[in-house]
Symmetry: C3
């Protein structure tokens, strides 16, 4: 019992790793809003009449704005599920070294994904590889946890 | 105190149910990406110029791709909030049998939702019923928890 | 050790605040679905052929429907990351009074955001201010937690 309780303690190194990378990922997602705003003002492309009125133009779309929005949506498709899968995973008593590696791979992959998608567009398979590395980490963690908690 | 602590322990059956179904839902959402990719390649409908270049065509949209994307977005609208509502709910000391039932109804409903929306299109009210069953579970859990934690 | 364990207990006032506002935010997001449905029926604007057939029309979009959908997407961009940042934050041993204030500011800001965006459209900077207040809370909590858990 005691061992199980210690897992969700802030004294537990695994839980601290989870919270640390979780907060970096939160800030990464939060940064997408100003990144979208920059592109909207740069290309004068606003989604709502009340926003466009500032620039005295009609609402319109621009490819560079849509690109940041797709990168943002891709974050929403991948980061919340990772934060659930990785919470389950740290409760399966994995090695600290390996788990920290997985958190680093996921976090770096997601940052690279946005960079090659919406900041400096780099030809494929750059974006695919960044996406795939993060996807593999989430899938691995979810399957390992599923096996562990099905017992 | 001891009783409250035991709730977020992996020795606790309720928390294991939460983690088990949480991981199934994670894998369900993760599977939407390859499902979208299959439709994109099948209909040669890519969102970005650097993706379309592989097929030597221009970016375009296709109804079957948009359908999978809407199903994916609907997951994002419903699954993360369920995982928060159900975490709060298992902390209210509910019966294991009833809670497991609710997790099963939600999980099966969400899988059916994607099947009738994006795999084999079935006329309404199939999709509405799948959506509604899951929505009811989340709402019930959130309201029960709200009452419990407002005390 | 004992102190760390008590944090994720339902006897802990900070965790109860987290669960209480978490459930209010869940219900707020859940309410976006019927809000979208109302606008879809009002303007007979459906996204899928099998939905439009009910009204014997073709699928189409309408600005008021898109407005609710953008408000909903904005929730998904901001609420799940807040629930992660604020979970980390309550584990840093902050004052109950200040933390409760932050939860209230975030929750009220997000409700106001939807009201001025999709219910009664109010000119800017109303929506920007509601968005910004919530964004600041999430950023503050994530940075504070990052510093705390990097130690």
């Amino acid at each position: 019992m005691a061992q199980a309780l210690e897992i969700l303690s802030t004294e537990n190194e695994l839980f601290r790793v989870y919270l640390f990378y979780g907060c970096i990922l939160v800030l990464k997602v939060v940064a997408m809003a100003p990144l979208t705003a920059i592109q909207r003002f740069k290309h004068k492309a606003f989604a709502n009449p009340e926003d466009a009125v500032v620039a005295k133009i009609k609402p319109k779309t621009h490819e560079n704005v849509e690109r940041v929005r797709r990168a943002h949506l891709n974050d929403l498709e991948n980061i919340p599920v990772f934060l659930v899968a990785s919470l389950a995973y740290i409760l399966t008593n994995p090695s600290i070294w390996f788990t920290t590696m997985l958190f680093r791979i996921f976090t770096i992959s997601r940052i690279l994904h946005t960079l090659v998608y919406a900041v400096v567009v780099i030809p494929q398979p750059a974006r695919f590889l960044a996406f795939f590395a993060a996807q593999i980490v989430t899938t691995y963690m979810a399957i390992q946890s599923l096996i562990y908690f099905a017992k």
